[in-house]
Amino acid sequence: MSTSPLYPLWLRVWHWYNAALFLALVVSGVSMHYAGTAWLLGFNQAVAIHNVSGSLLALGWIAFVLANLKSDNGRHYLPRPRGLVRDLWVQARYYAYGIFRDEPHPFHAGPAAKFNVLQQLSYLGAMYLLMPLLILSGLGFLFSPQLPETLLGISSLWLVAMTHVLTSYLLVLFLLVHVYIITIGDSLTANLRAMLTGEHGTSDDTQETDRHAS
């Protein structure tokens, strides 16, 4: 049985903290955006949940950035520029074609490299592009009295609203793909277990990996 520490405890706690807040934000955000529709939360309740969860998510993001600066975890999100296009092609080809041909997974998570290049790029985009935009636009809502009336001739509040909605949709898209992609590990639940226990690879996984490789 081979095990290798992959996710430190702080990262796992942060991950599930984010997951819970993401769910709360999606449910409350949809309830606010489509207020009045059946099956959704009450408007006032949704607003309170959204404001609190959003503030907590922003704090979590700041902690994540600081932790990545202090530890070497941040390097896992940076793809190697050399052979980037080739790596991308190999990974995308596997997901789209190779996986159905029973080809071996071209990437195995380990302490040296936790994420394949597609994961790296999507995490990089989500955490360092979409999240800052989401947080800044969320703060824009909360501090709208301090905003200028217009920005480049457009209502600044409308810009804030559209940025917030667009980044939210893109992050929901990320979430959707993320939840599915984690099932494509060495086994169906290997990645999920790794994020729960921190360890990666079990005897079952090894068997499957070995069978793939053979």
Binding site: A48, N51, S144, P145, S155, W158, M162, L173, T183
Partner: protein
């Protein structure tokens, strides 16, 4: 000459400081009360029963003032004679004084606050308002004071309760338009959540044209806005006006941290863009479909593998 130069004891000093603090805190309230009480006019006009009968119509007209309300009004520090200058030396006052014309704009022409409130603009708006253009017999003597009682008027301040502002503002309209609230009259029956709207927005939010500051151009019922998207949309009038104030009020009252949690300035629909929503939901649905097909493909593969293993 003897000098009693002893150092004040800390307790005595503290008591003195406390007294000075309490006096300074109480002083503005006390002096404001005195300002109103000082008016000689209030000896009679503070009597709640002071009134006269209109000779033509026979209607009873009250001449009473509420001294408390006057104390809190924007005009509390003025002497009565600053506005009611001439002809009040005789008692009872002469009948012609009932025609006395007092205009806010004339007095406030040199007021520094004019820059904020733009009284010249208010005068123009009022001239275009239904209250000025209608030839309804009840509007014959309509002027600023018909809505804004100069003896009680006070502009809303950051820190005032928004619900109270809305109630006070709407009461000004309902004083005359009281039949609007009659359940048997359907003038506002079209409005969804009518009572919630009445508690949260001012009459003028729909019954004036959209301007950054509250307009005095009151529109006729037929010209008033019935467009939901005027508020529930990207250019929300409320968000830019009343509710921007509400958020500023929240922050002033509870601090910015608390306003993070309890701020409720989001108005339904302001972040909605039908195109963006349709596009995003379509993309999400397509991605979900691709994922479902991908998952099904993997399931078929796993089953085939299992059969081969057998």
């Amino acid at each position: 000459m003897t000098h009693h130069c002893s150092r004040p004891r800390p307790t005595r000093w503290l008591a003195g400081a406390l007294l000075a603090l309490v006096t300074s805190l109480l002083a503005p309230a006390a002096s404001a009360v005195e300002t109103a009480r000082d008016h000689d006019c209030l000896r009679c006009h503070a009597m709640s029963t002071l009134a006269y009968r209109e000779p033509d119509s026979g209607e009873i007209r009250s001449l009473a003032l509420d001294p408390q309300q006057l104390d809190h009004s924007v005009h509390a520090e003025l002497a009565c004679s600053d506005c009611h200058a001439r002809g009040y030396g005789r008692y009872p006052h002469r009948a012609r004084l009932t025609d006395e014309q007092l205009g806010c704009v004339e007095c406030h022409a040199d007021d520094p606050a004019d820059a904020t409130y733009r009284l010249d603009r208010i005068a123009e708006e009022f001239d275009a308002s239904v209250h000025a253009t209608s030839d309804h017999h009840k509007l014959r003597q309509f002027d600023c004071h018909s809505c804004h009682d100069p003896h009680g008027f006070r502009a809303s301040q950051v820190g005032d309760d928004l619900g109270a502002i809305v109630r006070r503002d709407n009461q000004t309209c309902l004083d005359c338009h009281h039949r609007v609230t009659d359940p048997l009259r359907g003038s506002h029956a079209w409005l969804p959540q009518r009572d919630a709207h009445w508690a949260a927005v001012r009459c003028i939010d729909c019954h004036t044209p959209s301007t950054p500051q509250a307009s005095h151009q009151i529109l006729a019922a037929a010209d008033s806005s019935k467009r939901c998207v005027a508020c529930h949309s990207r250019d929300s009038r409320l968000r830019e006006g009343l509710y921007r104030y509400r958020l500023a009020q929240d922050q002033a009252e509870h601090g910015w941290l608390a306003s993070l949690v309890r701020n409720d300035a989001y108005i339904v629909g302001m972040s909605r863009s039908p195109l963006l929503d349709a596009l995003s939901l379509t993309i999400l649905a397509l991605v979900a479909l691709v994922i479902a097909l991908h998952g099904y493909g993997r399931y078929r593969l796993a089953r085939r593998r299992k059969e081969n293993d057998r």
